[in-house]
Amino acid sequence: MKKFMSAVLVSTLSTTMVMADPVDDTLILNEEITLVTRTAAPAHMADAVDEIMSGWLFRGTETRAMQMDDFDNPGMIFVEKGEDLWNTAEGSEGKSCASCHNDSDSMAGVRPVYPKYNEAAGEVRTLEMQVNDCRENRMGAEPWKYTGGDMTNMTALLASVSRGLPVNVAIDGPAQSTWEAGKELYYTRTGQLELACASCHEDNYGNMIRADHLSQGQINGFPTYRLKNTKLNSVHARFKGCVRDTRAETFKPGSDEFIALELYVASRGNGLSVEGPSVRN
């Protein structure tokens, strides 16, 4: 049966089909750092998946190559824009991010642990929420739109300085209830098509759904530069698109539901390297 299916696939899709399985390839960034794109699944998901894999392994040869060199990665233009924002003083306090945090390099290690419980605020915060907290409360500046250009350029910068470090979000202690809520949503079948995240990204990764090669839906590569819409895409914008594709009423970027879902999905990638800004199609 399997053999027969492959034969049919080859004959019908020969020009565009790459290979249904994730590739066996190594992501070496700028010929320097080797990133972890495949590793043992964290204990909390051991009953579902043995191995976790970056979306990079599910993309075509050319798309993968673009991400291996910063000069070829279109996402790096947005990192530069993020660097400009980092150094721009704004708001009533006349401060920039750099005023408090020095070089953007000093933020290495931040991206891998977000979303993260904030003790003082008593809530789980995404990186976007933390950025806006600094803007509003330390700079006296207007918050950025959650999935807007400035915000995504900033998260691209913050991801880029952590590339190669392992995703490592905490799921216990005060974060646990949020994590549980995210897990519940991950397995909830939404919309008229009644599909859950797990339907596509746990039960069917490696398979084709029409012309799309399903990955595990990991977020270690975010924000991602997508060749399809030629811009940087944030995590919640991607979630929104996937929920919409189940013919559902989506949740809003920045909503409690997506914050919880982000923590849960991030935790499914604990151990993979931060890759953002990655390149996807």
């Binding site: 565009t16 029409r210 012309a211 013919r247 009423e249």
Partner: protein, 157 residues
């Protein structure tokens, strides 16, 4: 007022005369996953059915299934079993049940229910991401279900 109302009734009645027998999505009788009687009383058209199975904006069945007979259409998915020979494996009543609501035949199936209007979590207005409104209806009409069933019945090995 009364007269125009009657006139409208007469018009719609004649235009849809053939679907007088149509069974509503909420009234379909499943028997172990099968649906014995036609949803419309009108024989399905396998040519239309072929179109619906392959078309992205209609059934989009090839998003998940491969069908050799549709190899003129690019990109068939691998989520569900290949449909070649479905007409040998399943009776017409079984095929009607599977297409109308596959979850009646296969517990917790990933396959969407194509003739169902209730019981969804956050149903949307097609692919807009917005909430469903009063235009919300089943994924396929009763006659489209019959057309798809007629097409699947032709898939013999």
């Amino acid at each position: 007022m009364k007269r125009t109302y009657l006139a409208v009734l007469a018009l719609t009645a004649s235009a849809f005369a053939l679907s007088a027998e149509e069974i509503a999505p909420t009234a379909v009788a499943f028997n172990e996953g099968s649906v014995e009687s036609s949803l419309t009383g009108v024989a399905g058209d396998p040519v239309m059915g072929r179109e619906i199975v392959g078309s992205k904006s209609l059934g989009n069945c090839v998003a998940c299934h491969q069908v050799t007979d549709l190899s003129d259409i690019p990109f068939h998915g691998e989520i569900g079993p290949m449909l070649d020979g479905a007409g040998d494996r399943w009776s017409e009543a079984e095929l009607r049940g599977i297409v109308a609501n596959a979850k009646m035949m296969f517990e917790d199936s990933l396959m969407p229910s194509f003739y169902k209007t209730e019981g969804f979590f956050r149903p949307g207005n097609a692919y807009t991401g917005k909430a469903a409104d009063e235009t919300f209806g089943p994924l396929l009409t009763a006659q489209q279900i019959e057309d798809v069933v007629a097409y699947l019945a032709t898939l013999k090995e």
